[in-house]
Symmetry: C2
Subunit: 398 residues, 2 copies
């Protein structure tokens, strides 16, 4: 190793960005403080208390009394994989609703579990209809339906009530991806009767990325406990993770990412202090104000019907003649504001602006609109005379 | 939710423990500082630089030039699952060396991947022999062998050279679990020719738990790229994760746990500054001093032959008439020192004392010996007249 030239690595010095894209959102300072608290072992009595409180607070966030409610030690995609590989067994078929990028990912995961996905394809920007799901259920033996509550790739908020109704009529279980909705958009797991849902730490919870909260109903756990074969993933098997996270005997499973759990508890404590419904209202109000400002700039929303727009993430069409990459580069380089572009077929066609968690506030809106207006001007975008997003916001209901 | 009694959740206030168990180790203050640096997006140009440097530094830690060297977004067990589910395909058989708890876990993971494990069982506390592996290889069609380099459950450091020789003679690939050895025990991935190995962030790297560094040789990657079927785990598929972590095009896979990567880079920077070989020597020297002190207390090592003792973790027999749980409780409650008990068949029979990363120092040794001596006295353990661990340490070569 002595021959190796001793390259120098400097101290970490990241730019201070305002993260108004598809996630992660900025981390609340209180969460950062918790993240730096003294580490204890994963079986320390103190950590057991932290785990118990985290579980209680997660139940509050999901509005559920589900016994099995805990964070998976991985990112949102690990949560997705946990949901699918626990409920879909080799040889099973599953209805997969695909109206965006993440629905597509679920389809691939069903396949990798040895399942057969029966897709209900819907235009990227529109919600899935209950009729389409009912048709698929009537024509297949599927006992599981998967759907994305807040499609981060399109900005669509999917109504779940009717989908759940038909799913349950056919005796199937529903997996709902609530990665971008948990803690930001109305979601009542128990009242709706969602069977299994998972989220991510870094969206509306404004926690650090790396954890995937998950909650499973007793009906879902029964299916898992009665599987013909073990869950193909040892790491994501809910029936063994629960013995560490939930049961009283605390059987060692893996070393939990202790400091991330500290951070999650603090993020949830912030949510609890604000109140879940207040948090939803804050997200809704701010999304409306943002849209008001974007429309004042003459921009069009990708999700046409307002009732299907997700309060946590707004997708706006890139005007003709303007390159989204240049817009985003200007916003990031000149204003330190990160927004996201479109994925797959929507690349270059939409910008995605997220107002999640701590970032769902008036200041973020003003900053992002100002930066966007300036970036659009630089690209020669023809503003209507007198259009000013900031003025529109001022006169909105904020 | 208004009916819900508003329970109060206090500020996080963990005890300040000295973590001298099987891991996690304490986190270096510089790593904690990096963990709190401003978050940027997972596709931010700044984060790309951080990723590149982290990959370079991981190659330094593994002593490898393997192109595919990166942290998996999960704990050490996710690294284990990634290794196995990428290399073992449904219908394959794999030789699994089991001489401790984690070898057993590998066996289970092979089964969950649809593979058939052919176990080479060895007493818990002894290394696996090359003859046993050769026998297993000669009697099976297995193309993969798995082994644990540092068995955290027993304290055995497994020599890899001869095992690799026979494995390669039979044209098979070796997966080595280096969870507890990376950055603390001699390991030269390229010189040895290890095909795939994985570790964890929270052991000798003294980073935060939640990441699993992994490195795969070109031969291993070739096997992965030529699989008959896709890797059953979408989340852990190395051939797609590499497109985000390693390739120039940076294809979005999942949202990396950004702050954990910051922390990992800083932990590796500390390693790089100290020098890998210096780090190994520090761990060896301190483990020897610890053993010297333990023997002065009249205690016996679980791993009889000194050359098979892992410098990062020392397993010591619990003397007769003494209850390990009481010992550990006293050490934790009265001295804020965490040590580990035995797992499975070794429960109650051994204590495991880890000197990993920042904790591999003289002060830790003195503190743990003092606390242990006191806890043993409380249990009525009959000390030889004049035995004093501290004095033994003073007179050792430290």
């Amino acid at each position: 190793m002595s021959e190796m030239p001793k390259k120098s690595y400097g101290e970490l010095c990241p730019p201070e960005r305002l993260l108004l894209g598809a996630g992660p959102s900025n981390v609340d300072p209180r969460v950062l403080k918790a993240l730096g608290a003294p580490i204890v072992e994963h079986l320390d009595p103190y950590f057991m208390e932290v785990m118990d409180e985290t579980v209680e607070l997660l139940r509050y966030a999901f509005k559920t009394e589900n016994h099995i409610t805990m964070p998976i030690s991985g990112t949102g995609s690990a949560g997705m994989e946990a949901a699918i590989c626990n409920l879909v067994e080799r040889g099973d078929s599953a209805i997969v609703c695909v109206n965006g990028f993440f629905g597509g990912r679920m389809k691939e995961m069903v396949q990798r579990c040895g399942g057969t996905p029966v897709t209900v394809e819907t235009e990227w920007g529109k919600p899935v209809t209950k009729e389409a799901v009912a048709d698929a259920l009537s024509e297949s033996e599927a006992e599981v339906v998967t759907i994305v509550h807040a499609e981060t790739s399109t900005g669509v908020l999917q109504p779940l009530k009717d989908i759940l109704k038909v799913t349950h009529e056919y005796g199937a279980l529903l997996i709902a991806d609530v990665v971008t909705s948990l803690g930001g958009c109305e979601l009542n797991v128990d009242e709706l009767g969602v069977d299994l849902s998972y989220s991510a730490s870094q969206k509306c919870l404004s926690c650090v990325p790396g954890l995937a909260p998950i909650t499973a109903s007793e009906k879902a756990m029964e299916r898992i406990r009665n599987r013909r074969t073990p869950v193909q993933s040892w790491y994501l098997d809910l029936s063994t993770i629960e013995k560490y996270w939930i049961e009283n005997n605390r059987v060692y499973h893996h070393t939990a990412p202790i400091l991330l759990v500290y951070a999650m508890r603090e993020a949830l404590r912030l949510l609890y202090e604000e109140g879940l419904e207040n948090r939803w209202q804050r997200h809704t109000k701010n999304a409306e104000a943002l849209i008001c400002g974007l429309e004042a700039l003459g921009l069009k929303m990708h999700v046409e019907e307002p009732k299907y727009r997700c309060p946590a993430i707004t997708s706006v069409k890139v005007p003709e003649g303007v390159h989204d990459k240049d817009i985003r580069a200007t916003m990031q380089e000149q204003y330190n504001i990160t927004v996201s572009g479109g994925l797959s077929d929507l690349a270059g066609k939409i910008l995605r602006i997220g107002l999640m968690g701590v970032n769902a506030n008036e200041q973020s809106i003003k900053l992002v609109l100002g930066a966007l207006e300036s970036a659009l001007k630089k690209e020669g975008y023809p503003f209507k005379i007198g259009s000013s997003a900031a003025a529109a916001i001022e006169s909105s209901s904020m």
